[in-house]
Amino acid sequence: MSDHKPEKKAKPPRAFGWVAEYADDNKLLEAARKVRDSGYSRTDAFTPFPVHGIDEALGIKATVLPWFTLCAGATGTCIALLMQWWMNAYDYPYIISGKPFSSWPAFIPVAFELTILFAAYTTVFAMLGLNGLPRFSNPMFTNPKFDRATDDRFFLWVDSRDKYFNTEKVKSLLESTGPISVDEVREDESSPVIPKAIFSVVFLLILISLIPGAIILRMRAARSDAPRWHVFFDMDFQPKKKPQQTTTLFADRRVQRPPVPGTIARGELDLADPYYLGYDPDKTAALEIADATRMVAFKLQDPAQDPAAQDPIPAAPAEPNYAWLTEAPIEATDELFALGKKKFETNCAVCHGFGGYGDGLVSQRAVNLAQGYWLQPTSMHEDRIQKQTIGRIYYTVANGKGKMAGYASSLTPRERWAVALYVRVLQRSQNARIEDVPEPRRAEFSSN
């Protein structure tokens, strides 16, 4: 047995056709036309500068690249407009500069940019793709004569992979065009195997590229007492005031300026309009609200010390002292009366009774059950309730009081005002004076 390893038979390098060399572009053009007219299409020309007419001479068809550009550009436009609409008008509606959520003029610059971006990038990469690039090896470069392709020689190549390729025929055709030389295009003889070193280097680079990400992940997961890094010091510490800070610029020492009286946030009319509230919020804000005073006093107390030894917290008010509306902000019509009556009898009479005396069926039943906890529903005709303004009554209808729940979810604001006005009607009806009766009918109510 011999320990002489058999030599691997070297594969002959592949051939890729013939290449002809010319000294001027006109010869090249003539040759290209001849080759084209002989029916060969897998050809190419290599010239130091663009030669006019070479595309036609080689029979190269128009490229499809413009279609890539058009479709990519159109895609960019659509994506941009859709993205902005989605972001600003649907997903997170955001008022910018007082403009509508879906403001198409504002969307145009981004749409323009994305059109150009998509079109340009696609064109570049499609062009590279259509040209089969990047390519790591081209058999053309094996022949040292080819170096002059960027200098002063013109080359015409007929690929062996052409449908009609025939070695002898192509060679003789090229020779008949009067070239300086005709050579076979052979593949480079070096091994196509990628050197192991490249893998190691690439692997190392990938590892290195993971380092910044790893640092970031660690910093996000870990705790640190060290102060932050401020790479951009004057961005992080800007000479401006932030909300909630104090300032000497304004008398009330606040940075934030209160909104102009009467300002209403978008979609929040029901938080600001007396029609929805029953009281005037701006006027109320000017009053000293007892609930607020209590809250402040509570907060000012030191929880560590005995509450009794500190400033006493004011007693809870019997009545919130808001700036109630004294007149209903709605015109009292017959229709409104009918509405108020209906709603009162549906929602309120159950407890308060049809006459408003607090003797509704629920109350009667509870009294019959004689459970000690039952608190009789308020009678509308008590002095206290008589003295309440219509705005206060509205507020009670909407928000409730004590055991009574608010009926804001059952009654629209208009219905609530109707009910409040109906309460007034009931009060008037049970507490009328002789002067309220029209003249002609007063006689019916004389005491004798």
Partner: protein
């Protein structure tokens, strides 16, 4: 005259030139008819509205026609300053167009007359001190009849001198074939472009922007420039096409030149749209009443001009952009001639949109009179162009760049 293919006849057909006097007459009559239409059709109390409408219409159509000539002049200057070869065969047409500017200076006189008449018929500021709103009062140091006239004289002087030099020397080159002429024209083109640009910019301010003296837009000059260039290229394409159909200019102007002119036209469609939208976007975003008032007058439903505004977006940008986008269209002479006509109509709508809303809400009578005035001014333009061309060859046959122009080929796709 037999139109054999690729003959080298480069003069304007005599049958065309014969029509020139008729066109001039028709033109002047149409303008007068439009005056009558405005006068008798204006429904309001005072006669002044009729004259006001007429003068605004006259101004609009005047600027419309002048914009072709100014675009032509700029084209000539630019081709010289960059030493372009491809345009040598079509440049003479532009030189001839530009050389009609001196006659257009004469047609500016009615505007000068109305400015000096103090009634504020065309420009509010011409009423003078004490009769205009405070913000316009502050501008009267600039906007007054004497300075207006002086500036107009300067603008026309710059344009006429440039047009005359470039035409005459090009014509001289027809006789002598001297390359020195080309070198001189190239050298002077730079300074002339600067003067041209300044003149055009301030003419736009003076003549068009001051119709609404309280309003201003710093990009307005560029807007007028863009729309003028666009319409010039349309005129150029149409002229070359019609000449070739009559068997002229066939040897010297081929598909490659049409393709390039079409590319220029396409580029200026995009450029115009860009400028027009820039002006709009900035004013829309800032929402400053002093600036948005101009757009409000044109886009508010109550004045009736909004359809025209939206039409411009569609017809001045979207349609011609997509229509002339394919390369095949730009290499088709007949199709480009069709698009040229389309552009010229749309350019008129654009000029209308700039000036006419200043008169008041859109009305049928106003638009009919305006249309008749347009027909008149276009006829006058054609007549003046034909008078100017006369027997002049419409190709500079001894231009040193001409061989380049004839050998010119577009990059194949």
């Amino acid at each position: 005259m037999a139109a054999n293919t690729l003959n080298d006849n480069v003069t304007m057909p005599a049958s065309w030139r014969a029509k020139a006097p008729i066109l001039a007459a028709v033109g002047f009559c149409s303008v007068l008819i439009s005056l009558g239409l405005f006068h008798f059709g204006s429904s309001s109390e005072n006669e002044a509205t009729g004259f006001k409408m007429f003068y605004h219409s006259y101004l609009t159509n005047y600027v419309y026609c002048l914009s072709f000539c100014l675009g032509a002049l700029f084209f000539v200057l630019v081709q010289h300053v960059v030493r372009a070869g491809w345009s040598a065969s079509v440049r003479r047409v532009a030189e001839l167009l530009a050389y009609t500017i001196p006659w257009w200076a004469a047609l500016f006189l009615p505007i000068v007359a109305v400015v000096f008449s103090d009634h504020g018929t065309l420009y509010e500021w011409s009423k003078g001190a004490g009769k205009v709103e405070p913000i316009v009062e502050l501008k009267l140091g600039y906007l007054n009849p004497s300075w207006f006239l002086l500036r107009a004289v300067v603008y026309f002087a710059i344009w006429c001198i440039a047009a005359r030099i470039y035409f005459r020397m090009s014509r001289e080159q027809d006789e002598t074939g001297s390359t020195e002429i080309t070198l001189k024209l190239q050298r002077w083109a730079g300074p002339f472009i600067i003067m041209f640009a300044l003149a055009l910019n301030f003419a736009a301010f003076d003549w068009i922007m001051s119709t609404d003296a309280a309003w201003y837009s710093t990009i307005f000059g560029v807007y007028i420039f863009a729309s003028g260039m666009l319409s010039f290229f349309a005129v150029m394409i149409l002229t070359c096409y019609l000449m070739q159909r009559s068997g002229r200019m066939q040897k010297y102007v081929n598909t490659e030149h049409f393709h390039d002119l079409a590319k220029w036209q396409f580029g200026f469609i995009v450029f115009w749209s860009y400028i027009a939208f820039s002006q709009f976007l900035l004013y829309w975003y800032a929402n400053i009443p002093e600036e948005t008032i101009w757009y409000k007058e044109r886009l508010d439903l109550s004045t009736g001009w909004r359809p025209l505004g939206y039409l411009l977006i569609a017809l001045h940008f979207a349609v011609p952009f997509l229509g002339t986008l394919p390369r095949a269209v730009r290499r088709n002479k007949a199709m480009m001639a069709g698009w040229a006509v389309f552009i010229l109509i749309v350019h008129w709508l654009d000029m209308t949109f700039l000036v006419m809303p200043n008169v008041g809400p859109a009305s049928a009578m106003m638009l009919i009179g305006h249309f008749v005035c347009w027909v008149g001014m276009v006829s006058i333009f054609l007549a003046l162009f034909m008078f100017r061309v006369g027997e002049t060859p419409m190709v500079a046959t001894r231009d040193p760049w001409l061989p380049d122009a004839l050998a010119y080929q577009q990059m194949p796709m």
